[in-house]
């Protein structure tokens, strides 16, 4: 899923880079196993990262290349699903690849294409440095590590423009508080929310994030987990009330339903900065700061964020996140050495420092600015951490979910019919009692 990736304002400062190279070469020796023996070898990699993300990743592997003398041959593409699906069927695969999600990771492992990382990475260190939920998501059904997270993202942050009203000193603690403050501080803003779900073939995904945020905070991690695994239907009151809450947001959004469905998610927040403002808030992941009008604005003065407020107090402190899973198809010495390097804190610190990524490794903390520092802290200190549910659902269901969002925005009165359709899609994609339903173990759990 392309939306699992995320980017930030890219700060490529030569001085910072020089420091970082120095830091990396001094405090860690990547590829200690291979050493100079890897010189001249090539590791072939495919992932969804393109543009600035591709540059950041290549900078991340540069110290390893320098150390070992091996080279990385990287192709970034958004057609990764097709490439890996055909690749697994034919055996024509790169050495390492970004995996679309835990579901596919299990399929590839079952097909014998994906190699386990148990003997490749330093397991105890990896487990101690990585959130348990991420370790679990990278574990295949037979208990082996099939994928590791290179970076992560925090979802469901609420962005505002301090020019209209500055919430940074006392952000709303609960959803009701947010609603009443929004009314009180509306001022000249035309609507409460900015919302845009257009994203080509993946249109609708910002809506899935909304619903996931509501389910997590209204009904708690257990319900979230069961729903993700197909044990709770979409038409269940617990899920339905999340849709209704989202419907309320859409009804109070800038421009109304035609605008929501026609507006690209990248530019959805632009009306925040208009005069008079089009809206008060935008709900989006941390990567929005590199997109649309945010890119040219200054964080802190032009925009800021507060976390999604709690709804039911017993589930206070819940956070939704996502991440980029990475796996190995060919266990060449060079590939193993690179994989070993990529999970380490110094490696992940490279991307963190460039900006645009939250680390999956707790010890990589060189965040370049206040926004990313606070995002990372939120992720670290979350009482309940849940992984993006739609990314864990089987592709077919995920696709139906996206379509359901778009249809609901267009015709809010057809909610029941949409949920019935989704129930059917869920029943065929995650038949209960079959091993398929049990395979992803998203278990939103207290983070360690």
């Amino acid at each position: 899923m392309d939306r699992m990736g995320f980017r930030h304002k890219a700060l490529v400062l030569p001085a910072a880079m020089a420091l970082l190279f120095a830091a990396c070469s001094s405090n860690q020796s990547p590829g200690a196993s291979g050493g100079g023996g890897l010189s001249g070898q090539t590791v072939k990699i495919i992932a969804t990262w393109t543009g600035d993300e591709q540059k950041a990743f290549l900078q991340m592997v540069a110290p390893w290349e320098k150390q070992t003398g091996a080279k990385v041959s990287y192709t970034g593409t958004r057609d990764i699903n097709t490439i890996l699906a055909t690749g697994v069927a034919t055996g024509v695969l790169p050495d390492l690849a970004g995996l679309p999600g835990p579901g596919q990771m299990n399929e590839y492992a079952k097909a014998g294409a994906l190699k386990t990382l148990d003997n490749v990475i330093d397991l105890p260190t990896y487990k101690s440095e990585t959130a348990k939920v991420l370790v679990d998501l990278g574990t295949t059904t037979d208990g082996k590590i099939g994928g590791v997270f290179i970076k992560s993202a925090i979802k469901g942050l609420i962005w505002f423009s301090p020019t209209l009203h500055d919430y940074s000193s006392s952000p709303p603690k609960t959803w009701d508080e947010l609603k009443s403050q929004a009314t009180a501080n509306k001022g000249s803003a035309q609507a409460i929310w900015c919302l845009g779900v257009e994203s080509g073939a993946a249109s609708g995904w910002p809506g899935t994030d909304w619903i996931e945020d509501f389910v997590l905070r209204q009904s708690g991690p257990q319900a979230y987990n069961d729903w993700t695994a197909g044990k709770i239907k979409f038409s269940d009151p617990k899920i339905k009330q999340a849709w209704q809450a989202f419907g309320d947001v859409a009804a109070n959004s800038f421009g109304g339903s035609s605008t929501i469905n026609a507006t690209a998610f990248q530019t959805a927040g632009d009306p925040l900065f208009k005069s008079p403002p089009g809206c008060e808030f935008l709900h989006q992941a941390s990567f929005i700061t590199g997109l649309g009008a945010f890119k040219a604005k200054k964080s802190g003065t032009d925009y800021n964020f507060f976390p999604f407020p709690d709804i039911d107090p017993q589930y206070a402190g819940a956070v939704e996140g996502a991440g980029d899973l990475f796996g190995m198809f060919h266990d060449t010495e060079a590939a193993k050495s690179l994989m070993k390097y990529l999970v380490t804190a110094p490696a992940q610190d490279v991307w963190v420092k460039i900006g645009g990524a939250l680390s999956a490794n707790k010890n990589a903390t060189s965040y370049p600015d206040d926004i990313s520092k606070r995002s990372a802290a939120l992720l670290q200190n979350a009482k309940i951490f849940a992984f993006d549910a739609s990314d864990l659902m089987p592709n077919v269901l995920q696709n139906a979910f996206l379509k359901g969002i778009v249809d609901y925005i267009k015709t809010p009165s057809s909610l029941d019919q949409i949920l019935t359709t989704l129930d059917a899609a869920q029943a065929s994609a995650q038949p209960q009692g079959s091993p398929a339903a049990a395979s992803p173990s998203p278990s939103p759990s207290p983070s360690s």
Partner: protein
């Protein structure tokens, strides 16, 4: 030596040399044969390279597609006609089928009609090359860039806001409020909008082929008709059009197949939402879901859909041979 120099030499000299060499080789082979076998063997030698390529790259995979269409998603079991049953029993497929019918009719009529009109019109102006270049231009644009272009065309902002989309800004000049072009499925307006994008891209294709054929009509023949007192419409109707008919049939067949396979514009612009889905997009989705069984069944439906069109072609070729 830079390995690219080797590649360049292969590309520019090696490849054409091998191919021309092959066709001379066939004569050498035929010389060894008794005289009466030569006419029988020759066509197959000439066809051999083409048939070999077609077999490996299209026929052999298609046989696999047929077999796969009867198997389940994991490729572990034969499931009879279940995939086809799934295809006909779903609402989304029915909408996609309806849309494909619209695509086939309107894309073909539009591209061939306008392509023919332009080819005939520009034949009469001095800036022919420029005019054709302009119509051809969109074909040179990749699908991704085309979807960016048309997002600028169809862009929608709420009423009262400055419109960034060309179409909405234009109708705004007449006081009409903005229209979310890609969301309105009344009378399949959004499907027609997508067909319009594709037609914008592909009219140049029809035009170039029709124009190439138009140029082969002898000028003397047309002049003779005019001397006999025929007006321009009569010349077109009685001479030009009948002579272009075989080419129009080729272009139409190609456009029908293009319409059946239409996919990337839908995929990038609406993702099949708002009742704009088409069969090829359904198939692509199934591939990305990893369900090659269902995807194969959809591909088989496409293959079956063209059988009648091919039947028309057979009859046309028999007719062509009868008159030449």
């Amino acid at each position: 030596m830079d390995p690219r120099i080797g590649t360049a030499l292969t590309v520019l000299i090696g490849v054409p040399a091998v191919l021309i060499g092959y066709i001379y080789l066939t004569e050498i082979v035929l010389r060894a044969l008794p005289e009466r076998y030569k006419p029988r063997a020759r066509p197959w030698l000439w066809l051999l390279p083409a048939l070999a390529f077609l077999f490996v790259f299209l026929i052999y995979p298609t046989i696999g597609t047929f077999i796969r269409s009867f198997r389940n998603a994991d490729d572990t079991d034969f499931i009879g006609l279940s995939n086809f049953q799934k295809f006909v029993s779903s609402d989304t497929t029915l909408i996609a089928l309806r849309n494909n019918i619209l695509w086939v009719i309107f894309l073909t009529v539009f591209c061939v009609g306008i392509g023919l009109l332009i080819a005939v019109l520009v034949d009469r102006v001095r800036y022919e090359s420029w005019a054709k270049g302009v119509i051809f231009l969109p074909l040179a644009i990749s699908a991704v860039a085309a979807s960016v272009i048309w997002k600028f065309m169809f862009d929608y902002q709420p009423p009262g806001e400055p419109q960034t989309g060309t179409m909405n800004a234009f109708i705004g000049l007449f006081g009409i409020s903005p229209v979310p072009w890609l969301q309105i499925d009344t009378f399949a307006l959004n499907t027609f909008a997508l067909i319009g994008v594709m037609a914008w891209m592909w009219t140049g294709f029809a035009m170039v082929i029709i124009s190439a054929s138009l140029k082969s009509i002898s000028a003397e023949l047309l002049e003779a008709a005019r001397v006999d007192g025929a007006n321009e419409w009569q010349v077109f109707r009685r001479i030009v059009f009948p002579l272009l008919l075989p080419t129009i049939a080729v272009v139409s067949t190609t456009m029908i197949i293009t319409a059946l396979k239409a996919f990337d514009i839908v995929y990038t612009m609406t993702g099949g939402n708002f009742n704009t889905d088409v069969i090829a997009n359904l198939m692509y989705k199934q591939i990305s879901f990893g369900d090659f069984g269902f995807a194969s069944a959809i591909a088989v439906v496409l293959l079956i859909a063209i059988v009648p069109i091919m039947g028309v072609n057979i009859r046309r070729f028999q007719a062509q041979e009868a008159i030449r």
